[in-house]
Symmetry: D2
Subunit: 353 residues, 4 copies
């Protein structure tokens, strides 16, 4: 329906998919560039950022010197539309919702990494993001970009709402249990520790080196804007109303989210049965790895990969699930490229392993 590769996958050439990245200067944008540079099916054809005048991207990111020779410009969405088949929006929330419609009307496909199209309920959006939604007509057309849940819908999506980093780590950790109705709906507690790239690139007192270093800072205790997104998706899967308790923290490191989720089993269960449930549920998933009994995920093992590692332990009827991802990859840009691969019929792991 969308882009139909006539050439054999692996050949570089005129038939390559032209992609644009709006908001190329943030962490997610930079990471998208890193992945897409060596993706064999893709040409990066537009980069935008709020720069005063066009500037070579290697001026902004010196490590791209000699690897990508393209300018980053403060282009309008309609200018971007002319140069691209697919556009990644690595923009702040409230900006994406004004940008995506222009691209969609021009017949382009969009993967939005902001929070703008994740919540289906525009009132909830207003409550948590503080603004009225500018293009609510797309909320229901946007597919929530978690392939483990919506792979088929993603394939044909015109717009994908790429999930938040915390939600990826938490939803993947509990999905098999919620789908199978194994746990009490009101018992889910997520304790999630994140690296600082999750907090955005804008300098602030909270991200000053000396505040973060040698520190662990809880923040937005049970009031983070990723909560309604998690609740929405888990409730949909469970067919019950689920509201999690959620405490996030800033770790003194660059990358990674480790979420520990505590839940109460409805009935008797064994650790062995739990492991089997997870292994079967995620069988064939290229980026979810279930750890052996007694082994638990850590951040360094998933850092700079698109994997989500999951470890499980049972304490009576309390189930403990730990999941680890790289917040910039499976939690953002890697996830987005995985979605792109699905949308265009490329091998799902292309550019990601």
């Amino acid at each position: 329906m969308w882009y139909n590769p006539t050439r054999k996958i692996g050949e570089k050439g005129a038939g390559m998919l032209r992609v644009g990245i709006m908001g190329a200067r943030g962490w997610a944008g930079e990471e998208l560039i890193n992945i897409l540079i060596s993706h064999p099916e893709v040409n990066i054809s537009a980069l935008t950022a709020r720069v005063e005048k066009p500037v070579r991207i290697s001026e902004i990111f010196p490590h791209l010197e000699g690897r990508l020779d393209i300018e980053c410009e403060d282009m309008s969405p309609s200018e971007v539309a002319k140069k691209c088949d697919l556009v990644f929006l690595a923009l702040p929330h409230t900006v994406s919702m004004k940008t995506a419609p222009v691209l969609l009307r021009a017949g382009k496909r969009v993967i939005d990494l902001s929070g703008d199209y994740r919540l289906k309920d525009k009132n909830l959006y207003k409550k948590w993001y503080g603004s009225s939604h500018a293009s609510p007509q797309y909320l229901n057309r946007a597919v929530y970009g978690l392939p483990e849940l919506y792979r088929d819908d993603i394939r044909d999506a015109e717009i994908v709402a790429n999930p938040g980093c915390y939600p990826v780590s938490i939803i993947l950790a509990v999905l098999p249990l919620v789908r199978k109705g194994v746990v009490e709906s009101n018992s889910i507690i997520a304790d999630s520790k994140s690296g600082v790239t999750g907090a955005g690139r804008e300098p602030s007192p909270k991200t000053h080196f000396c505040e973060v270093n040698e520190n662990l800072m809880p923040y937005k205790v049970n009031s983070h804007q990723h909560m309604p997104e998690i609740n929405q998706e888990l409730s949909k899967v469970s067919r019950n109303r689920i509201q999690i308790t959620f405490v996030p923290y800033l770790l003194p490191l660059d990358r990674g989210i480790l979420s520990t989720v505590y839940m109460t089993a409805k009935g008797r269960i064994t650790e062995k049965a739990l492991l089997k449930l997870y292994q079967e549920f995620y069988k064939g998933e290229p980026f979810v790895r279930i750890m052996k009994p007694g082994i638990f995920p850590d951040l360094k093992s998933v850092s700079r990969t698109n994997f989500c590692d999951i470890g499980i332990r049972l304490d009576g009827n309390r189930i403990i699930v730990l999941s680890a991802i790289d917040n910039l990859l499976k939690g953002a840009s890697g996830q987005a490229v995985q979605n792109m691969n699905i949308m265009y019929g490329f091998p799902e792991t292309m550019g990601l392993i």
Copy 2:
């Protein structure tokens, strides 16, 4: 009964308390030295470590050059007994239980920072520490050194079992709730993140810089030897059998423990009532600080202090309590000095603020 200062507090002189530190080369030993050097009532009169021959302590810790001129020797407990009124044992577990009896029989008082005298049940000790207890007759004479629970008993104790670092952070976080019977006994979950000084000074693959740095590592998931200690103390306070769920982690930083404890309230309660309960419970405690609503503790605010900061949030009937301590101070050596101050009638904060 024990040491009776005839001179006015503050005067340095012959009447000073002579203290020894066995195991002076570990983190806890080093921190004890740091505190006691400037404690106005104390002379450090003996330091021991497994050194081949006597060595000036400033050879081991260059930062002590010009501040403490005493040798560190591989002395026997009976030699130490001759030089000291009070001995701090900063020894590994299973070593303390063979050392303390010698000192006690010589009429000396002991503050043991290992796990050897914390559990009252010798079978539990064997199960969790892997050895039969060598001096079980002292288990019931040892006072659990948490002043917020046992101040009066500490005053006259011959031997104090200084609490574990995780237990301090967790017990102080839930004490008012458990004492007042506010929470369900089986609902307590503690998610505790610790700096690397908590893992001991011995080099190992797990504490290699490149393993810890840019990482967050869960370990001993619900199987840490501090669990029975927490269960013992909370059960005693609650008069019910309490068994917590406990997940500890290694943070990429030197000092501090942040514990987040999740509990279920038995009945209806408000955040305001909770705060009031904590404020009243800890009124007059010199080292426990209750944060204002919406403010939560972080590690840097308690680092290198003996404070325990506590923040509280309510989510329906789920109570979230966060507590932060410096694991080497309120979690070990600072706590030990606080206990010493109580044992000898010194002002409780002396040397600690």
Copy 3:
């Protein structure tokens, strides 16, 4: 001449020295508070910062809760003058030079931690700090606050220009050699690595955690504003014109400066003779420690101390001197308190060991 303590040192009471800190919210200000809280001769009687309304200092620095109960206000220098005998200026450069004259005219003594009174030549000041000097009449009355060079002058100074952090580490490293004429004047190269507290508390892209972490960044390569200060002091000591080569770096850590200075000896010399020269030169200095042959300073050994550790190695006629300080202590606030102790006849190490 200035403050005449009638009571015995050590007694707290009405006769205590009243000190103010202007710019209490920066790193240097915070560190001054930390030191002065437990200084037995001093009462902190005024704290200023650009706050909208008076605020308790423990609101700004939670770790001061229960330790210091005083408000921080946006006071004018003349208001501060009424409350203090001595004022520490922990203000940005160009602000101090407008503030100090008001205090001095009110008969108060001043220790300025900015760069405003360090350079004796107002043209040099303009060149390096970008502004004309607002009170050049004080440039020659200000004493450069390095006790190892100017202890006698500091004693009676009305205003002390506290040295820059890099200059302390470099001047102390080469002072004996320059004073004795051992090295070629044009051969001095200083390679200095600093923690991030040296870069100020204002958030900026350069101090964002993710820029500094896992990085080492050279900056102002041979163009740092501390160079003329070093050149001025070394030239004065040497009686020759000295111009050093200077490369500073930002380290991914909070505190400390390690300077390595490379110089060419004029004639033949031995490592043994060098060590002896340093030991004799710094004999009796309470805060300079010369390391044994083959031992070199590191940052952790001086962190949170007022010491400057110096190690020496000879390579043919090339002399290598390494020095380590805590940039917030011997490099700023500790140095300032050492100067205060000298100015008021207190023991020089009081509050600092």
Copy 4:
């Protein structure tokens, strides 16, 4: 002469180069695996380490789960020879020199990442590495694997001595100046700061997290075993005897070496002329990037790349050159793969960009 690819580059298949890695468990070995997994011309056909029994490599490195399915065994060199065309030795020094001869005699090509074949003089080897050389007959047949110096010799080498990490960073920094005779031979000072992966994976007190973290540690001050290697290569290029002064440090981070080299120009020179000299000298080099005037390299810009970034500044007749590399890539495993690419006629950047 060696391996003659009959299939078109890019096709995967039976004709792929079979490579082995001996010492797969260290940092260099792990990094080689990371690179070679996605190298289109290579199959990893053997991995060795001192393991008790064969173990899947993903048991050792969990991040390889699902990416490489091969066992790591404690194989003898002759067993390895049967499975491979080319063998990378990521072994400790003194082990390589006993291993390489077996492989070479079996007709295999070898890239040795240890220090065993870098020094041409066996006496020098003994002096600096503490052992007599076990296979000195190969010292002169081994090609020093710095493509910027010896590209043509590498092409046909049977054994490549991959350079040390510090030497790469220092030699590349000064090569144009030494080749052109611009600087005084006895004036070269290298001040080099390295991440901890440079110090090896074996746990030791020096690499304990709490020793390295918040610290900067000089070590082997002017006595590091990389000095004779640097002197040998620079002397050869210069046709004069060169002996550098060298101070290395351990930084609190995982990866990277930043070397600052100070030299004295023989005559008058301008910064512009220097820059031009470097640009021309390194023209066409795929992995050396010369920074613009006023811009200097930092570690994060080269981290996880095979680039060496070089920045230059002039101070009178003193030349300051800063160079940055990733010690595990251009300083070890990336360099080794670059050498492999040259040896087998693959594009030089294959697998590295």
